[in-house]
């Protein structure tokens, strides 16, 4: 059987930030590959470089050294526009604070990335309703974020992340703002997203959420300290 094709490969990547007191290295000489359909959790204490790694994997940040390849393309060599397109078409983001646009309805929030990708209106409306149904919120399509609970907002954000059928979904503390029961529902939904074929990388503090992943990376001081399989 062939090994799953890698979506994103980081080889000896480091990311340093220039601070007034001197450079701070958030990620050190890290090598990692995320393959299609994978379910990976990244754990570790605050400030260990989890989110920085996630941002590099999602092409919103570039390493200060090392090589990052997405679908065989060197991310550092891509211009801003090409990286935006890459994110739009191949990567979905789920944020801790949801970042739904408050002036748009749930359906419109899901529609937004599709509109940016040039999907025709009729098709994107159909896809938005389909995705809201997928996350169990078809009855809330016309509601604004202010009319939704935290769990519902995160489910809309997951639907938005899936809008352009990405190959990789990156979730940064997706249950961080939710209570335990709601976090469990959101984690289950993300499991389902992965089970349906989308590679998933979750950054989390929550051991229960991390334990759902097939591969768990524990980071410390910008390095992967331990890798374990569930």
């Amino acid at each position: 059987m062939n090994a799953p094709m890698p979506i994103v490969s980081a080889t000896n990547v480091s990311r340093a930030f220039q601070m007034p007191a001197g450079p701070v290295v958030a990620v050190r000489d890290l090598t990692l590959t995320i393959a299609a359909g994978e379910h990976t959790a990244i754990r570790g204490p605050s400030g260990c470089g989890k989110s920085t790694l996630l941002h590099m994997l999602g092409c919103v940040d570039t390493p200060t050294s090392g090589s990052l390849m997405f679908d065989g393309r060197d991310v550092a060599a891509l211009g801003d526009r090409a990286r935006s397109l890459l994110r739009l078409r191949h990567i979905g983001f789920v944020f801790q604070r949801f970042f739904l646009l408050p002036m748009l309805t749930a359906a419109e929030n899901v529609e937004l990335p599709q509109a940016e990708a040039g999907v025709p209106r009729v098709e994107r409306l159909r896809r938005s309703l389909e995705l809201l149904d997928y996350v169990g919120l078809s009855a809330r399509a016309g509601h604004r974020p202010s009319q939704l609970s935290g769990g519902e907002m995160q489910r809309v954000a997951i639907a938005r992340a899936l809008a352009n059928r990405p190959r990789l979904v990156l979730a940064d503390e997706p249950t961080g703002e939710l209570d335990e029961a709601t976090g469990e529902q959101v984690a289950a939904l993300l499991d389902r997203v992965n089970a349906d074929g989308t590679a998933l990388v979750i950054v989390t503090h929550d051991p229960a959420v991390a334990s759902r992943a097939r591969r768990i990376l524990t980071m410390k001081d910008g390095r992967i300290e331990r890798e374990s399989a569930a």
Binding site: D61, L86, R87, L88, F93, F99, P113, E116, D172
Partner: protein, 393 residues
């Protein structure tokens, strides 16, 4: 969702702030519109009044503006010389004096006494008919109201002809019509008759003289000017445009200078207002913008969103500013026209299509300039750092 509806939703999201911006632009735009109307208004109004008199050339005895220099002593001869030119359609002698007008117990001491000799009369009929004999007169509305007269009544004029020493004779004129006289001052009595009628009232003083000759060309003003200059090199001729040009070089430039200063101030205010509103708005949603960028929105798209918000604020405010500006201009015009000795039909604020174009262009420039800084903020937004800061914050 396309960019403009998206920007509209962003504005509606913060209604109080957006309304403040729109009202601010409407107020500034109204002032801008008024300043543009004022900058050329008086000159245009003056030109319009001159054109409405039915002549395109004025011939005087000396260089100064008509009515300000030496009189044409032999107006009859000059008129005959110029009337014979093929490039000239008609020539009318114009002479003005002041007079005392009386009827029953009512008296007006500083009335306009206008006299003409020629086929075209520079007034507009309101009621009755035009003069046809030397003892007939048309009067302005104020005179008709002041003396309670109608066509057919009689008015007595005592003309003050060139400041002569002896008391002027009292001459009766039969009023045959009520007219509007260009350059007539409000609340000033006035009437017009023939030059022969005025000479009768003057007892022969300044006989044959006129202030200027009003010439209507046969169609080609330049050709008529050249012909007059060749036929009577001792006289000076001015076209309406030259006359307006001289006024423009004189006191009327103050209005343009004042307008320019006020336009600069108002536009600076609009610029600051919109820049501050947009910058505050953008700073409050940096996390959202970073999230949109992470989701794949291009830098150009998020920058365009900010620009569209600016354009919507300025566009809506600009549209509201036009009726607001027009109402304000009408009110200000009424106030300024209360200044003494101004012709009743003269206006300070005059609409011209160019003012609309300049108004639109200046507001467009404001929308672009005001959006520059917030657009730069969005364009240079570090996505990863902003997302991280939003979580920490």
């Amino acid at each position: 969702m396309t960019i403009l509806p998206f920007a509209w939703r962003s504005l509606v999201r913060q209604p109080a702030r957006s309304i403040l911006g729109i009202v601010g632009v409407a107020a500034v735009g109204a002032l801008l519109f008024d300043m543009l109307l004022l900058s050329e208004g008086l000159v245009l109004s003056m030109g319009d009044l001159l054109d409405r008199m039915g002549f395109d050339i004025r011939v005087t005895a000396s260089e100064p503006l008509p009515g300000q220099g030496a009189e044409l002593e032999d107006a009859t001869g000059a008129k005959a010389d110029i009337a014979g030119l093929p490039a000239v359609r008609s020539v009318t002698s114009v002479r003005t004096e002041t007079a005392m007008v009386t009827r029953n117990e009512i008296r007006e001491t500083d009335a306009l006494f206008l006299a003409i000799d020629g086929p075209t009369h520079p007034w507009s009929m309101v009621e009755g008919r035009d003069i046809a004999a030397d003892d007939e007169m048309v009067v302005n509305r104020y005179t008709a109201e002041r003396f309670g007269i109608r066509p057919g009544d009689t008015l007595t004029f005592s003309a003050n002809c060139g400041g002569r020493a002896e008391a002027p004779p009292r001459v009766d004129f039969r009023v045959v019509g009520i007219v509007t006289i260009p350059f007539d001052r409000p609340r000033r009595a006035g009437g017009a008759t023939t030059i022969a009628g005025l000479e009768r009232a003057c007892g022969g003083a300044r006989a044959g003289a006129a202030d200027f000759l009003a010439v209507a060309s046969a169609g080609d003003t330049a050709a008529a000017m050249a012909a007059i200059a060749a036929a009577r090199p001792d006289l000076r001729a001015f076209t309406n445009e030259q006359l307006v040009g001289r006024l423009q070089q004189g006191g009327f430039t103050y209005f343009r200078q004042i307008s320019t200063v006020l336009i600069t101030i108002t536009m600076s205010f609009a610029l600051l207002l919109i820049t501050v509103l947009l910058t505050v708005s953008v700073n409050q949603r940096l996390g959202e913008v970073a999230a949109l960028r992470a989701l794949g929105f291009s830098r150009g798209r998020v920058v365009l969103d900010v620009f569209c918000e600016s354009a919507l604020i300025v566009g809506i405010g600009g549209c509201l500013s036009l009726p607001l500006g027009w109402m304000l201009a009408t009110t200000l015009d009424g106030i300024l026209k209360r200044m003494p000795n101004l012709p009743e039909q003269l206006h300070f604020f005059v609409f011209r299509p160019e003012a609309l174009v300049v108004h639109g262009a200046l507001l467009c420039a404001t929308a672009v300039l005001a959006a520059l800084y917030p657009m730069q903020l969005v364009a240079r937004l570090p996505i990863a750092t902003t997302l991280r800061n939003e979580v920490i914050g």
